[in-house]
């Protein structure tokens, strides 16, 4: 699906942009490698099979990890203390119960006892990774059996009732009406919860809680629907917020197919501490790489707070950084759903052609990535008639510029989380545009010295300049200065910093041990990834 270039971009400049992105990312990668977080540690316990929650709904992984952290900290990794203590318990659940009751003393064992604990830990997380691998094979089998969507872009639709049992029929209806990908968005509050709720949930605000059980229920329902509609319907959720690594693990173990997973979204839009985010993000991406999950990045969000023309280059910069972080974590290009959006003020002269220029630029910079094309939101108003029109032109830009995943815009964007009818109207809109304009790209040839080519080059130039400044100042400082989305987030601010620890020299984690091997294995990495 490599797209053929329509823009006269200077390859040297593109190369330079990538080098600068790698340089800008490196200090943050080093930071991520040298720190751990409570969520990374809990994710390890989840991979080791610990599930369930106490009567107050606090998951046992939290109760257990908290107990360990209280007693010996997390900087060495909680695996050794946990699996050492496990010698006296039949399983992790029983250990967690006891730890929650205050009845376990955790310690960091010395060799050779530590070796036994490591062995137990490796044996425990092994099945977790095996399950992820099995789910990945299951997906591959289902896709080859049932089939992929017949067209690009894939049609991506959001469901958001707050109640998994309302979500399921809506998602199934949406798939039958044409959606190829279903995203269940999360309740407004979830990203700030430092635990992942348990079980099937029916009470979310503007979205449904991401839980292992909700994942399972929805995936099972969509498997059924996939067979009915004759194409594998992909399921998406959000590996974001304070529990990013755990959610990634749950996603992998429940065969989610795509996950929103941005290197900076939580920092900027949830005020989560930057270091926490970067550490969590690396772990979760490593899991996604294993699970064959397509990540979706969140550059679209910047354009809801910043101006889409002025800040166009910040999208490009962020895409390059997300690409770099993803490659480093072992994700190949074909799993990189880099985001961008149709958010230019529609009253601006030539706004549609500016959108085409930006969308083509992304398409051409990342020819092998399944780019995610996001609909207008900021300039949507309560005028739903106009809203449906703008969504139509968004769809058109998606077709003309060869986008890979198209998030379906809703005419009620400025009004409510989508109604069943909004989705139906929106899908009808997408179907019309995809069908009526299917081959229009054949006729679309922006001249090399024309408006579109000029604009794309201008944005690329601005991106290279900004990357240069970020290399000089440091990415963390750039974020603190409001470079992305005009949100100023200092490295020592935000939530969740208390859950971060610099790894001690003897830090050990059976999951990262495996994951870091992956990242070192070129086989997982797409040929493009290392250029």
């Amino acid at each position: 699906m490599t797209a053929k270039p329509l823009l006269p971009l200077d390859p040297a400049l593109v190369e330079r942009a990538r080098q600068l992105a790698a340089r800008a990312a490196q200090p943050v990668v080093d930071l991520a490698r040298s720190h751990t977080t409570v969520s990374v540690e809990r994710a390890t316990l989840r991979l080791a099979g610990l599930t369930g929650a106490d009567p107050d709904g606090i998951p046992w992984v939290n109760r257990l990890a908290d107990a360990v952290a209280d007693q010996v900290g997390i900087e060495h990794g909680i695996a050794l203390p946990v699996f050492h203590a496990l010698k006296d318990f039949p399983d992790l659940t029983r250990l967690a119960h006891a730890a929650a009751a205050g009845g376990v003393t955790f310690e960091r064992p010395d060799e050779p006892v530590a070796g036994h604990a490591r062995m137990r830990a490796r044996r425990a997380v092994g099945p977790g990774f095996t399950r992820i691998a099995a789910k990945r094979r299951e997906r591959d089998a289902l896709v080859s059996e049932i089939g992929d969507p017949p067209q690009r872009p894939w049609i991506y639709l959001i469901v958001a009732t707050g109640d998994i049992y309302e979500d399921i029929p809506q998602a199934q209806a949406a798939a039958k009406a044409g959606a190829d990908v279903i995203a269940v968005i999360r309740s407004t509050g979830q990203s700030l919860l430092d635990y992942v709720p348990e079980g099937a949930t029916r009470e979310g605000f503007a979205g449904t809680y991401a839980t292992g059980e909700n994942f399972r229920l929805m995936r099972a329902a969509l498997d059924e629907t996939s067979r009915e509609v004759g194409r594998y319907i992909r399921l998406t959720n959000y590996a974001s917020g304070l529990c990013m690594p755990e959610i990634a693990a749950l996603a992998g173990m429940n065969r989610l197919d795509m996950m929103l997973n941005d290197c900076m979204y939580g920092i900027l839009f949830r005020d989560i501490n930057p270091i926490r985010t970067f550490v969590d993000q690396r772990f979760s991406r490593q899991v996604h790489a294993r699970a064959g999950i397509i990540i979706n990045t969140g550059e679209d969000n910047y354009l809801t707070t910043a101006d889409a023309v002025e800040a166009a280059h910040t999208v490009t910069v962020s895409q390059l950084l997300n690409e770099r972080f993803a490659h480093e974590a072992g994700l190949p290009d074909r799993l990189l759903g880099l985001g961008h959006a149709f958010e230019i003020n529609p009253d601006l002269p030539e706004s549609f052609r500016l959108e085409l220029a930006h969308a083509l630029l992304a398409r051409q910079l990342f020819p092998d990535a399944p780019l995610k094309w996001m609909p207008p939101t900021k300039h949507m108003t309560g005028d739903v008639f106009r809203g449906n029109l703008l969504d139509g032109f968004f769809n058109l830009a998606g077709v003309m510029t060869g986008q890979s995943i198209l998030l379906v815009g809703m005419m009620t964007e400025a009004v409510v989380t989508p109604w069943i009818s909004d989705r139906d109207i929106a899908l009808q809109n997408v179907r019309y545009v995809l069908n009526a304009c299917a081959g229009l790209a054949e006729d679309f040839h922006p001249p090399a010295d024309g408006f579109i080519a000029k604009r794309a080059n201008e944005v690329l130039g601005e991106a290279v300049d900004l990357l240069g400044r970020i290399v000089d100042d440091g990415l963390l400082n750039a974020i603190a200065d409001g470079t992305f989305g005009i949100m100023k987030r200092p490295a020592d601010g935000g939530r969740g910093l208390d859950g971060v620890a610099k790894r001690a020299d003897d830090y050990w984690n059976p999951a990262t041990e495996i994951l870091d091997q992956d990242a070192a294995t070129p086989a997982h990495v797409h040929e493009e990834a290392t250029r």
Partner: protein
């Protein structure tokens, strides 16, 4: 299934509806209040005025979302039940040949100043609609299609001349209720011209009719959006051929002045 339902936005029972309208007032806070007053009178609870836009200086357009407090009782819904069996063209032809023993004559027209013939042609012309052939295709039907803009007296005269069994009239233009006036005028003219037993079956159709309005309009049957030729043929056979009773006329006298 519950027999009482409410509109559905994204949760069962939420009652959500979308509404838009223009008020003949300049756009200001009072206008927005007026829009919400109307929404409240229509039974919207917690109405959200999501869009207000001046149209010129004296009008404002509004979009309102809200929860309708009204309940829909499915048991009280009145529908015109399909009182006839759906027949294939062959069945129609057989029934007419066997039971009536002569061709059944149908006269069709757009009356008044209405020139929209696509709908009546869809029913009458061989070409038909929705994959079905029109009534001209039925061997046992004799179809006289008078076309558009036929004056009511001309239609009555022609129906009499042709000894029509049924008259099929189309009305598409609805502005100022033209379709209703014309239909009533037509029904009255047939009543005046012919005694009860002699009148052809009167059928009107068009996209904006209410199927339940036959009696009120003084006709035998109203067809609306999505009608196909076989619907009409089946109905004609039911009313003119297979029904034991003579075509039953609605109580015309009391409805039309």
């Amino acid at each position: 299934m519950s027999r009482i339902v409410r509109p559905y936005g994204d949760t069962t029972g939420d009652g959500m509806v979308q509404l838009s309208f223009t008020l003949p007032v300049p756009h200001d806070k009072r206008a927005e209040g007026a829009a919400l007053q109307l929404a409240a009178k229509m039974g919207l609870d917690g109405a959200m005025l999501v869009h207000a836009k001046a149209i010129g200086e004296a009008y404002t357009f509004f979009v309102v979302y809200g929860a309708s407090t009204h309940l829909v009782n499915l048991d009280e819904v009145k529908v015109v039940e399909k009182d006839y069996t759906h027949l294939s063209p062959k069945e129609v032809n057989d029934a007419i040949r066997e039971r009536l023993g002569r061709k059944l004559c149908v006269v069709g027209a757009c009356i008044g100043t209405d020139a929209h013939t696509v709908g009546i042609d869809a029913i009458l012309n061989i070409k038909g609609v929705a994959g079905e052939k029109g009534l001209e295709y039925y061997r046992e039907l004799r179809v006289v299609n008078l076309g558009a803009q036929v004056a009511v007296p001309d239609l009555v005269n022609r129906a009499v001349d042709e000894e029509a069994d049924a008259v099929l009239v189309s009305q598409v233009v609805t502005q100022k209720d033209a379709h209703l006036h014309n239909t009533r005028e037509m029904a009255a003219a047939f009543r005046e011209a012919l005694p009860p037993g002699k009148r052809p079956l009167l059928v009107v159709g068009g996209p904006r009719f209410d199927e339940g309005a036959a009696t009120e309009l003084g006709v035998d049957r109203v067809f609306t959006r999505g009608t196909t030729p076989s619907d009409v043929a089946s109905y004609l056979v039911h009313r003119l051929v297979t029904s034991k009773t003579a075509p039953q006329r609605p109580a015309l006298q009391k409805d039309v002045a």
